[in-house]
Amino acid sequence: MRENKRKPLKLMNRWIRKNLFATSFDVFLTLICLAFICWALPPFLKWAVFDADFAGTTRDDCTSGGACWVFVKMRFNQFIYGLYPDHLYWRPNLVFVISGLWLAALIFPEWKGKRKLAFTGVLLGPIIVYQILYDGFGYLEIVDTPQWGGLLLTMIIAGVGIACSLPLGIILALGRQSELILVRKFSIVFIELWRGVPLITVLFMASVMLPLFFEEGTHFDKLMRCLIGVTLFASAYMAEVVRGGLQAVPKTQIEAAQALGMGYWQSMSFVVLPQAIRIVIPGIVNTFIGLFKDTSLVVVIGMFDLLGMVKAAFTNREWAGYSVEGYLFAGLLFWVFCYWMSKFSQKIEKKINMDKQSSGGKAWNLS
């Protein structure tokens, strides 16, 4: 057909016409956007890339007026590992590799035993990670939890938080649907309580008040207190997510299971829950993304996750004044993780929706 012979320039012209200059309002909009880009982008690029310092080792190497990325380069290890002793970096690296492999195994298409792997990962993961990083079941050198920091700590808090809140959330979701009045009311109260308060107050409560609730002498690690607070908080959100999944499983499934003679717990664990959880995997990933971002709050109770380490680094006399570079780097790291996780979640959601009939409207424009 003739379209194939059209020159690329003409095609581009057509595209510009259609997408940028279709109506007079469009023209106006395009001009405003272009003006904004021209105003904002060049100064930023100049500061961040063209004038910036990349080479060097101390602050004296940051002579130009641009960004001082030397700072990020020199403190990079601290941002990732915190104050973990550097001759023992193989242990956090091992944790990263194991988690990466486990996640990769789950992402790839169906294979036998995938569910078992997911299950064991969620249950045993926290314990294995803790042992590797702390003292390797007693065989390795002890590294105390205050030294775990940076991205490592962020991932531990988010990962352990989700892993521990998943079972709790499932139980709460089941409880919320229960026919037993007390169980239902208790679940509702528990869920609404933790959903109605900000995470920062939960962390305060965990770090300041938790020791009071227990017998004197039970010594609570700060990380442990933080994890307890985060788990309780996340379990409420997880309960709502799982509830959505439970409601999406057709009632006929439960009836079929009962017809087969299964009791409540049997039908739940073998028939309903597997389907429900599969449906809400995107929701679980979204909760994880939210938790991943919320771990930055632990800087307020004196723990040094990625954001905390960045802040501590530029308040040091050596690198004072380079706060913007630090914040941008931390922001970039968070963005990379969260963006790819949300893309992954969208992909799964699409896959799940393709299995069902979709009824949403087609895309159309408003302007």
Partner: protein, 335 residues
């Protein structure tokens, strides 16, 4: 500290009784957990090489030498002003050596005990030179940056009320944020203990364009703190501090302390544990004081090393000299 999770479960299921004496726990752990600040030059900060340094840090090292025989057996926990007392009360740390002001309400109302004064300080103000202010009495209507959870907040309120001046106060969680805000121009005045003013001035963009006003508006005796109810541990802390001062009085330094074992001065011999065992009743070894001085030096050495003329702070002894040199430090006799 092993297997914390199991310990939590055990603690839940069984009932444990009481903290147990701190010294027993410390001996069992093999180190002292010392609470320090999050970075105050001269008092407690991490050097470029990752080592802690400062007078509060040296105090804890001396304590470790006295109790465990080795000044390296200390672990430091950086704490903000807000969480320092909770950390001590809950048992997370064994001693709080964090430039903490000794006041009535803290001593009596928080279930902690102050064991002495390491540094006599006072609260002061810092302003920009070009504001033209030369006295604190000219600060009517100023905006002041402070760190939350400190006596600084309350002292400012008292001072301005007493002098019938108006002010606005911006409150931050971390002292570094306070310094940054002052530097950025958010406030006219930066206030904290005078030692802190000198220490943090080096963090400013142009240290020489700021001056410290002459007025000292409060007494800030800074010292170590322990939990209430553990007298033996409090005694050990108190007498470690006195040992540092007494060593300076007797002329003992980290260099000559071993040689002084053969001194003719009976006070020295008593101090070093040659004649009498002064440590037994506290549960310490005979030569506890000698170990302290050998590892961190006497008070004068500690002061010079961290705050003295050769450091960036250049603080003079002033009120912190010994009583016989016109200062306020007076050690109780070790006998």
């Amino acid at each position: 500290m092993k297997h914390l999770r199991i310990k939590v479960l055990v603690g839940l299921l069984l009932s444990s009784s009481g903290f147990g004496a701190t010294i027993d726990q410390v001996r069992k752990k093999g180190f002292i957990q010392c609470g320090v600040s999050q970075g105050l030059p001269g008092f407690s900060e991490i050097s470029g090489k990752g080592k802690w340094q400062g007078i509060d840090v040296d105090y804890c090292r001396g304590l470790a030498a006295a109790v465990l025989g080795d000044p390296a057996k200390v672990k430091f926990t950086p704490l903000s002003a807000k969480e320092r007392f909770t950390a001590l009360q809950s048992g997370e740390i064994d001693v709080l050596s964090r430039n903490t002001t000794w006041t009535l309400s803290r001593d009596t109302g928080l279930a902690v005990s102050f064991v002495g004064v390491v540094y006599y300080d006072g609260q002061g103000f810092m302003v920009r030179k070009k504001s033209g202010v030369t006295s604190a009495k000219q600060l009517d209507g100023a905006t002041i940056c402070v760190n939350t959870g400190t006596t600084t907040e309350l002292n400012v309120a008292d001072y301005f009320r007493a002098n019938k001046m108006k002010y606005k106060m911006v409150v931050f969680e971390k002292s570094d944020e306070v310094v940054a805000a002052y530097d950025a121009g958010r406030c006219d005045v930066y206030t904290t203990d005078q030692s802190g003013l000198y220490a943090n001035r080096v963090k400013l963009k142009k240290p020489d364009s700021h001056i410290v006003l002459p007025e000292v508006i409060s007494k800030e005796p800074l010292g170590p703190v322990v939990r209430q109810g553990d007298d033996q541990w409090a005694d050990i802390n108190r007498w470690t501090l006195y040992a540092l001062l007494e060593a300076e009085e007797l002329g003992l330094t980290s260099v000559n302390v071993k040689k002084m074992k053969s001194s003719a001065n009976p006070a020295v011999l008593r101090f070093l544990g040659v004649e009498k065992d002064m440590g037994k009743q506290m549960g310490l070894s005979r030569d506890w004081a000698m170990k302290v001085v050998k590892s961190v030096g006497n008070y004068g050495e500690i002061f010079e090393r961290n705050l003295g003329a050769k450091t960036t702070l250049k603080i003079s002894r002033g009120q912190n000299a010994l009583w016989r040199d016109g200062g306020l430090h007076y050690a109780m006799p070790v006998r």
